[in-house]
């Protein structure tokens, strides 16, 4: 009841924090998707690079988020930039990995047929490879998005805004309703993203 009261009273604040949170995640995801797909595609043409890039992404993922923010903070300063940069780095691995393995998993006969028919590498990439890996990349995007919704909450500490502010303010004021509201809205956001992206994944899925 108290919680309900809190939420209805602070509704405009919560809404704008949610907007910030969503924007933070979306900006990071858009950059991570473009960067990750380009990187993932590029390393399929250069095997030693693939190992290095995947290993590096793996390490980036293990780095604790507070440490990541801490490392980037002196470089990019307090605020939005550091938050987005850290989120991009975290989101990179699932996208790069799925792009790379997706392309590697394409039936070699399909690629041979395409090449033998006279499609150039650019045509093969654009018309065959990329459309074929959409479902796999979508799965990676989903994993990454759900993950960084949670990490974005911590980004509030370095001034990147978003629903994490409710939690941090709640902790410092020892306000349970505020913490609860933050936790609930962040979780709900993660679940929403998960469901929407699952739906997209399903729609772009290819019957094989």
């Amino acid at each position: 009841m108290e919680l309900w009261h809190f939420i209805s009273e602070r509704w405009p604040t919560i809404l704008s924090l949610t907007g910030e949170h969503v924007l933070l995640v979306l900006v990071a995801m858009v950059v991570a998707i473009i960067l990750g797909v380009v990187l993932g595609v590029a390393v399929t043409y250069w095997e030693p690079g693939a190992r290095a890039v995947l290993y590096l992404c793996q390490i980036l993922m293990t780095v604790p988020s507070m440490a990541m923010f801490g490392i980037l903070l002196p470089l990019l300063g307090i605020g939005y930039k550091t938050g987005v940069a850290a989120l991009i780095l975290y989101a990179l691995l699932p996208v790069v990995r799925n792009t790379y393995t997706g392309i590697r998993a394409i039936d070699p006969a399909v690629l041979e047929a395409a090449k033998g028919m006279g499609l150039g590498e650019w045509s093969i990439l654009r018309r065959i490879k990329l459309p074929l890996i959409i479902p796999v990349v979508m799965a990676g995007i989903r994993t990454a998005t759900v993950m960084i919704v949670g990490i974005a909450a911590i980004a509030a500490f370095i001034g990147a805004g978003g629903l994490g502010e409710l939690i941090f303010r709640g902790i410092s004021r020892y306000n349970r309703q505020m913490i609860l509201a933050g936790a609930i809205f962040i979780s709900a956001l993660a679940i929403c993203f998960d469901l929407i992206l699952k739906q997209l994944e399903y729609r772009y899925g290819i019957r094989s």
Binding site: Q58, I59, T62, V63, P64, S65, M66, A67, M68, F69, G70, I71, L73, P74, V146, V149, G150, I151, A153, I154, F157, I158, G164, I167, F168, G170, I171, Y174, R176, I179, L180, G182, A183, I186, S187, A190, I191, D194
Partner: protein, 237 residues
């Protein structure tokens, strides 16, 4: 040659990580600016590192002790109806951000080490539980059937067949959980449980880069170390 190199790697990676940790600490402590120098002394570094390790180890070991048996139990045929429900709860639980979990338990149990351990424990329970269940379910029924047909008793099938076969998947879950715990433990600072997060948080509020970097470097190296160690265990046992 290749195998030799691999064995060398087993020793090399922890040594490199340790060396990096020590040299980073020494560098930052020795070059601390006056404002940070009071905090950034060796006993303090060891203390927060110890707290961090304690947080991670206690919560992880308790999580393994609870989640593995629970995962085995819900994989038994008798629990078939409830298993999907538990899976659903686990899946939703994993979308709750770690910060929210810590904060929530703070409102229930107050500040301090025990609250942090409890939150970490509950949070790391999920991946282990999920992987234990998945690992047990991944075993083909024909294998169990064959074991039963050869006259093995249920507990023997579990210890000789099922657990060894499910081991890599369970191990992967433990690895995920421990790495998450190392990361989440840096947040424990917010609820007064100490750990390497203390350096990062204080460093950020005091704007002392060397303090931030000491905490960040040590926690990152710790996470990479555990990840590497458990990845090795996953493959070699």
């Amino acid at each position: 040659m290749w195998r030799k190199l691999n064995r060398l790697r087993t020793v090399l990676v922890p040594v490199i990580l340790l060396a990096a940790g020590v040299s980073a600490t020494v560098y930052f402590v020795e070059n601390a600016t006056p404002m940070a120098a009071r905090l950034l002394v060796y006993p303090n570094v060891l203390r927060v590192l110890g707290q961090h390790l304690l947080l991670v180890l206690v919560s992880s070991l308790l999580a393994i002790a609870a989640a593995v048996p629970l995962g085995i139990i819900i994989s038994r045929p008798a629990f078939r109806p409830v298993a999907p429900v538990i899976e659903g709860i686990v899946n939703i639980g994993q979308t709750v951000p770690s910060l929210a979990v810590l904060a929530l338990f703070m409102t229930l149990f107050g500040l301090g080490f025990q609250t942090a351990v409890f939150a970490l424990w509950l949070y790391s329970l999920l991946p282990i539980l999920r992987n234990t269940y998945a690992g047990m379910k991944s075993i083909g029924p024909e294998i169990i059937e064959a074991a039963r047909g050869m006259g093995m008793k249920a507990h023997r099938i579990l210890s000789r067949i099922e657990l060894p076969l499910a081991f890599p998947i369970i191990m992967a879950g433990i690895r995920t959980a421990v790495v998450i715990n190392v990361g989440t433990a840096t947040l424990a600072s917010f609820i007064g449980a100490g750990g390497l997060g203390d350096f990062i948080v204080t460093g950020i509020s005091l704007r002392r880069t060397e303090l931030i970097y000491t905490g960040a470097a040590l926690s990152a190296l710790l996470a990479i170390f555990f990840d590497d160690l458990l990845a090795r265990l996953e493959k070699y046992v």
